[in-house]
Amino acid sequence: MSTNSSGERPLRELQQEFFRLVTAPLDADDRSRSAFSDGSSAEKAAELLVKPGGGFTSLQRTELYNRQYWFRLIDSVAEDFPGLRSLMGAASFYEMTIAYLKRYPSSSFSMRYLGRHLAQFLKEEPSWLGEDVEFGIEVAEIEYAQSAAFEAASFPALNPAQIVAVSLGEMTFMLQPCVFIFELQYPVDEWLRSTRTFERDASEASHSEEACRFEEGHERLAPPEKKPTWLAVHRHNLKIYFKALDKPQFEVLSALKRGETLAEGLDRGIEALPEESLTPKLITKAIQGWFAVWGELSWFSKAPERDSLNGIR
């Protein structure tokens, strides 16, 4: 580490070294390790930076930050992924979360985005899920969508007359950002309903050191049988819901989510209808039914204006 003429370390270098101490994995007793994972001495690194005192060594002084870092972040991930934790068991989830945060440390001012790469991480490291790889990844995707839907934007919904105008090609529109669409191999919604409540509330910023909430003896819950599932995770009246879809509905909605036109989306939906439904009358009935329900749920809006940032640049 370099120093200036006064013997001080450049601020960035000092912060990099302190951050290394703060984010180093804890030992089995949740204490700071005396060495980093590359074998270099954490004790010496702390001694270079931090004054000892009050009966504490330099490393013991940084330990409190080290412990708080892991406790706070692991608690936050656990709060957002209770289903995944139930599937993996508490101990395995704890270890996996540490590995995840080492590869994907937080890069946002808010802890609410901590889990955004978790499904990707599990695809990269499937061994964490043992036999339940596909199901575990789906649970991670759905639980993150619940968090995202809780506070995603929503815009004034289109009324039925406006939806008719859309169907006539007179207006462009979009699926609300607080609606997320999934095609799954497992009935994740049914499983999550059977294992926990899923209503979300805002998290609080806190600076307290708390023991991690990983009770001993937490039972692993078995995954369900495979069953093709199409699902919307959405917010309605400020609460998060699951809405079961069928394959044609999924095709229409996911096309709209991708930004395709209504006509393109409807083509995809019609293609997915069972053969016995492919009469003009039944197709019309199906489409009217879909849009009646989706309209009631306020899933459509006009695309937002470009100046929706209030001119903040």
């Binding site: 004054k51 930050y65 870092y69 937080s106 809780f150 806190s206």
Partner: protein, 286 residues
């Protein structure tokens, strides 16, 4: 000096932190509270319940923003999108000023979500002050920086914490959110005289005071915001008011949160100090 340019000339009285467990009670009963402080980051979202609740609160109460994520002391710039989100919230709440901590928390794009202590050096003071100035100009509201509680001191420090605080706020021309509980916690952890700290604070820049409870461990104190305010902190608060005059005061209670009424009762104890006719004494006599 209750109202000054650092708190948007606001004379607010005693406030309480707005917390999720109290939402329903507040909206149903509309208790008589002077103002609520929100954690900005909890409402820097695009929609949903947090903003719905906030808008309902704003219909009836004054709201002041307090942040935990600007990290003025981090060596890297504050991300632009974060500032834009914060500015949108400022426009929504019409907060007369906002506050965040005199600390750092991220490096190389990685975020600790903690309020990490700074080395008290001139380089750090200049760098931190520049970032506060830039944020203040962008957000177009006065900023008060809050002293944090800390558990480690850097060997590189060349000044005391209160000298560092003064250096930063003078250079940035910003205000101070004086957390008397944090002064007390750090004074025990680092063995300095908290009243000495108070003497060193530029009184004319204090826009708000925080009071809170902490946890006591055998060898140190931890700033947990999960207890009532202890007597030594009330004593320090009283001394601060003697120096500053009646000042906007906020009770923080962030963990193991009791009923709204209990938090409110604890906050109202501050009135015993604020409500007294307190003669503002000159710094020299403190």
């Amino acid at each position: 000096m209750p109202a000054n340019r650092f708190n948007g000339f606001s004379d607010l009285g005693v406030g309480i932190g707005l917390r999720v467990p109290h939402y329903q009670h507040i909206l149903e009963n509309r208790p008589g509270v002077d103002w609520f402080e929100i954690i900005s980051e909890n409402y820097m979202v695009d929609g949903g319940r947090p903003l719905h609740i906030l808008d309902s609160i704003l219909e009836h109460y004054k709201v002041i923003q307090h942040g935990v994520g600007l990290y003025f002391g981090s060596s890297e710039p504050i991300p632009r999108d974060q500032l834009q989100k914060l500015k949108r919230l400022v426009q929504r709440t019409k907060t007369p000023f906002l506050s965040d901590h005199l600390c750092w928390g991220s490096v190389d794009g990685k975020v600790s979500h903690d309020l990490l202590p700074l080395p008290y050096t001139m380089e750090a003071a200049k760098h931190t002050a520049e970032k506060v100035k830039m944020a203040q100009e962008f957000l177009e509201v006065p900023i008060c920086v809050e002293n944090v509680s800390s558990y480690a001191e850097f060997k590189d420090s060349t000044m005391t914490e209160w000298e560092f605080l003064s250096e930063v706020v003078e250079r940035a021309d910003c205000g101070i959110l004086l957390d008397v509980n944090n002064i007390y916690v750090s004074s025990i952890n680092h063995r300095f005289d908290p009243f000495e700290y108070l003497k060193g604070v530029p009184a004319e820049r204090v826009g708000q005071i925080h009071i809170a409870g902490h946890s006591t461990y055998p060898a140190y104190l931890l700033d947990t915001h999960d207890h009532p305010v202890c007597d030594p902190v009330w004593a320090l608060y009283q001394q601060a008011l003697q120096k500053l005059g009646p000042t906007n005061t906020l009770l923080e209670w962030d963990d193991k949160i009791p009923s709204f009424d209990e938090v409110h009762r604890e906050a109202c104890k501050a009135w015993a100090f604020l409500g007294k006719k307190i003669d503002v004494v000159q710094e020299a006599t403190l």
